[in-house]
Symmetry: C2
Amino acid sequence: MPLITNRSTGRARMQDVARRAGVSMITVSRVLHNPEKVAADTRERVAQAIRATGYVPNLVAGSLASNRTYTILALVPTLTNPVFGQTLHALEEVLRRHGYHLLLGNSGNSPQEEEALLATFLARRPDGIFLHNTSHTPATHRLLARARVPIVETGDLSRTPADMVVSYSNFAAGKAMTAYLLGKSYRRIAFVGAVQRMNERARQRCRGYQAALRQAGVPLDAALIVEATLGPRQGAEALVSLLARRRPPQAVFFAGDAWAVGALLECERRGWPVPQRVAIVGFDDQAMAAEAIPPLTTVRVPRAEIGRRAAEMLLDRLHGKPVVPRREDLGFRIVARGSA
Amino acid sequence: MPLITNRSTGRARMQDVARRAGVSMITVSRVLHNPEKVAADTRERVAQAIRATGYVPNLVAGSLASNRTYTILALVPTLTNPVFGQTLHALEEVLRRHGYHLLLGNSGNSPQEEEALLATFLARRPDGIFLHNTSHTPATHRLLARARVPIVETGDLSRTPADMVVSYSNFAAGKAMTAYLLGKSYRRIAFVGAVQRMNERARQRCRGYQAALRQAGVPLDAALIVEATLGPRQGAEALVSLLARRRPPQAVFFAGDAWAVGALLECERRGWPVPQRVAIVGFDDQAMAAEAIPPLTTVRVPRAEIGRRAAEMLLDRLHGKPVVPRREDLGFRIVARGSA
DNA sequence: CTGAAAGCGCTAACAG
DNA sequence: CTGTTAGCGCTTTCAG
């Protein structure tokens, strides 16, 4: 009788290992998942049989039987913006140490796309869900509720999380940075951010900017709000177009460092002194910010820490521990450097 | 009798849908996977039952029965380097359109870690494997062979792919860029790259650099080869330390744009004219390269195209089409700008 | 500490 | 075009 009996795949199954070790399947399963519940010598025999057969457990079968997939769904707006990678990286690292793997999806900043993705991903029965977005369609909310698994959202400190949320507040950060500029006596301040229609984070940062102006009694000027695609070229272009206005801004708040660094380089090219001719600030404190000329004043956001905490919150819930509070503010910090 | 009978999860199962529509389970399955094989009116009744019950298929069960998971394993060195995100993004986009989802893992540039990850991920029975690395441990090779699924590697144009490979050649790119510098009459050329011990790509770029020098009859100088962590600060530091040498280089080839841009900024700060005082070139043609002062001469690599082709190669094989050749060179391009 | 029986929810293979 | 039967490979539950 061949030791490996599975015809369809040619791979050893748990039954093959069990036979070879002279035990039942469940004992093999225990050696794999609860070795302490098996006698040392039995354990050793089984381990040997596993090695001999080259047995690789089939987690698909295990998941069906146990109703747990050890899989976390992670939906991010895009992978081409490095900030999401920073959070994902930390998330993955922590989850992996606890036996969970990441299922990855790109929602492309579209709530409709997010909804469609979620619907198809739920068929995989993830044990938990991570969303780098807090603004969903009604159908998405329904799907999330019906999934009955822990969910952690990030991207913004939503007041109405589907389940848990860990983030900083984009509104507070936008407001704080604008207040910082106002504190430096800049009055005419422009705002450059992502397209707001489909991006809650962009919206909140801009709302914070407007709130700070309002609070300081500075009249809002819609002409000073620019929407752009993220990138240094786009930052340079936004700056030039803003400074070409009849009443140009004294400061520009770029809601992303890539824009700001591009703008700084444009100033250098044109011989516009920063912050004298125009003050410039960014958002995220990416590595380039500190190196720019002049060094970029920006908002530091704990990207990796958010990923780590998100993983911990999910794991706590998966281990049956309640998570309180379900809304965690990891804050931000204005990093004042030379550009404003 | 309740329409939803599954006690354990409270979720509708295919049986519930079938009963409600007055058909057998297999008909429901067909409506889901081969709707054209079901009569229009039956199809409509089933669709209605699906909506009424809020049925979400269980792909775990489906995978066990069909022996296909519609899952592709993607192992990348890290997510914090944006270049991997660019490839992953394209990979995900194409695969998703064909019903495949991505299982994500970080190998952290360690072959041992890659091996460990692969071993645990194989338990999930991915239908295909994408590796952003071409240099594996013997055990990894064994695991890959036993997985019996299509595999596509990238990161370098390996001559001995485990299965398929789509990439550009780091050796050729390193050599071409060095030849470009030699063609501009720079003789003393330094090379700054990632730590080579665990990084095949870094190694190949450096080998290409050395090959070009050798071919031009320029003596190699080990003191001109620097290993560093990727980032603008590290680029600036490497540059300064190189130019402080007794016999400083006339040109520095940074095997990553982030280093090169940091070095360019350092030159600006110190008033060192580029390329007169020192020529600087990068690698990858990231968005910042074109904006730098002076604009950065660099190597453009088709990151997204690689992800797209990798997906297509996997899909072809999953659809039973043979892929020839199994080694695809997507090339690179030297983008000559002002910095050298 | 170990085992037997009974599924998990779905699809493949064959019928009709 | 639709249905029946028989698993996929594992874990759960309950015994011993």
